[in-house]
Amino acid sequence: MLNTIANFFEYQFVTNAFAAALLISIAAAMVGTYIVARRLVFLSGGITHASFGGIGIGYYIGINPILGAAAFAVLAAFGVEALSQKMNVREDSAIGMLWSVGMAIGIFFIFLTPGYSPNLMTFLFGSILTVSSSDLILLLILNVVMVSFFIIFYKPILYLAFDSEFAKTQQIPVKTFSYILKGFIAITIVLSIRMVGIILLISMLTIPPTIANLFTKRFSSIIYISAVVGFVGAIGGLLISYNINVPSGATIIMVLVTIFAAAKLVKYIIIRTQLRGV
């Protein structure tokens, strides 16, 4: 086993994959904690799937599909708000609509694109071993910007997520912060597509904070624990998938769910022992 791991690291793409897993885990921890606490999981699912429309158009007109995905993700994030507030569509219906319209546009344009699209599966199911150096640089920039933002504006983020009505009475520019955070959600989603793909991405955002939330009720601690759990899940999944030769994205999610089940069991045992102690 040790030998396999040593061999494994000889390749540049493996080192890249590890760096990507680390950076994505940190970004996903911040965004994931926010969306789980604020119950924006469904919205985030919608943004993720809508971005497929951008990938399809990217293929068709021959630009980098990730750029198309980014444009569609941001459009979807703000489109939901426009539909629900300006055009009086109920919010969850608006999310559902953009979710499937985005996918439909993606399928439509990929079908129209002549020839076979070899990387299509990469976007749907992820392929962290194909991460390039330029992807890493983008991820690094996103992390630097987001970590600084969360450190400087931790309080307004926490309090607008907890009780935005009260935050407004405390002169916090709630709207501006919500927009910025929505932008972060969209960009984090697009840059994480590489790792687990569109179909599995939402678990990468939601499972780590859910595990962390079992052991702490502090927003900041949930972010820290989520980053560690996300990284352990990503690396564990990667090693297992390499050894038994199965898709890495799906393995990462299975590892995270296993960690969740184990954590839940540990929590249950802790509570039982405490009850017996009383």
């Binding site: 606490a37 309080k155 907890f162 009780d163 009260f166 002169q171």
Partner: protein
């Protein structure tokens, strides 16, 4: 008594729909105003106007700060909007009442943390300090939200139906506490419960699309009818009754 806030012939609403038309209200130090009125009559809109969350379409809302850094409002919203599973501790919630003073990047100082301890002690929930809000009862959560409203030592305390979803014991304690607080600050309270309104407030504002100010806590059905404020019965006397309004 010095004026804190004055609403002068203001109209307010959302998306071109006027909810409150041509209202006047003046609140001074040590006032205790009960706001009553039917659902949809504009009680919440009035609070938003007071708190500065909503700008009047017509007319003026004048705030009369004495000092530049003074905290004018403490606000206790209806706690139905609170997500009880949100990962946050009592202490963090209470400290957020200082955000208006601190600004978006401010750090809490030792002094701020002492203020939080003081207010928790005053409300009698020091032992809950480090608990996540998910472990609190309805009455305990309401105490925490009241502490958040009080930590900045405001001149005007604004309460939106503080007696919903709490037990009778807390309700009794709440009114005793409000009586005590009213010696230091003005209070504006929205309530559906006419019995408690008439036995605790000093004056009444009837809100139904417009505002009728009633400079006493005694109000009769005839007066309510004249104010176009369809709430049924009034209880006077020392024992607060619970009387349901029209449904």
């Amino acid at each position: 008594m010095a004026k804190i806030i004055e609403i002068v012939s203001a109209s307010a609403g959302y998306n071109n729909e006027i909810i409150l038309k041509d209202i006047n209200l003046e609140i001074s130090d040590r006032d205790f105003v009960g706001i009553i009125g039917p659902n949809g009559g504009g009680k919440t809109t009035l609070l938003k106007l007071l708190l500065g969350e909503l700008k009047p379409i017509k007319g003026k809302v004048k705030r009369c700060s004495k000092k530049p850094n003074e905290s004018l409002f403490g606000y206790l919203p209806q706690n139905t909007n609170i997500d009880k599973q949100f990962p946050i501790t009592v202490n963090e919630v209470v400290l957020s009442g200082l955000l208006g003073k601190k600004g978006v990047t401010g750090r809490y100082t030792k002094n701020d943390k002492q203020l939080a301890l003081d207010v928790l002690q005053r409300i009698g929930i020091t032992d809950l300090k480090n608990k996540p809000i998910g472990e609190l009862s309805g009455g305990q959560l309401q105490r925490v939200l009241l502490s958040r409203a009080l930590i900045s030592n405001p001149r005007l305390l604004v309460l939106d139906e503080p007696n919903t979803y709490v037990d009778n014991r807390f309700e009794k304690e709440l009114y005793e506490l409000l009586k005590e607080l009213n010696k230091e600050m003005a209070i504006v309270m929205v309530s559906h419960d006419m019995g408690t309104i008439t036995s605790h407030v000093k004056t009444i504002a009837c809100v139904n699309r417009t505002l009728h100010y009633h400079p006493s806590n005694k109000i009769s059905n005839e007066q309510l009818a004249a104010y176009d404020c369809p709430i049924q019965v009034i209880a006077h006397g020392p024992i607060p009754h619970t009387i349901l309004g029209e449904h």
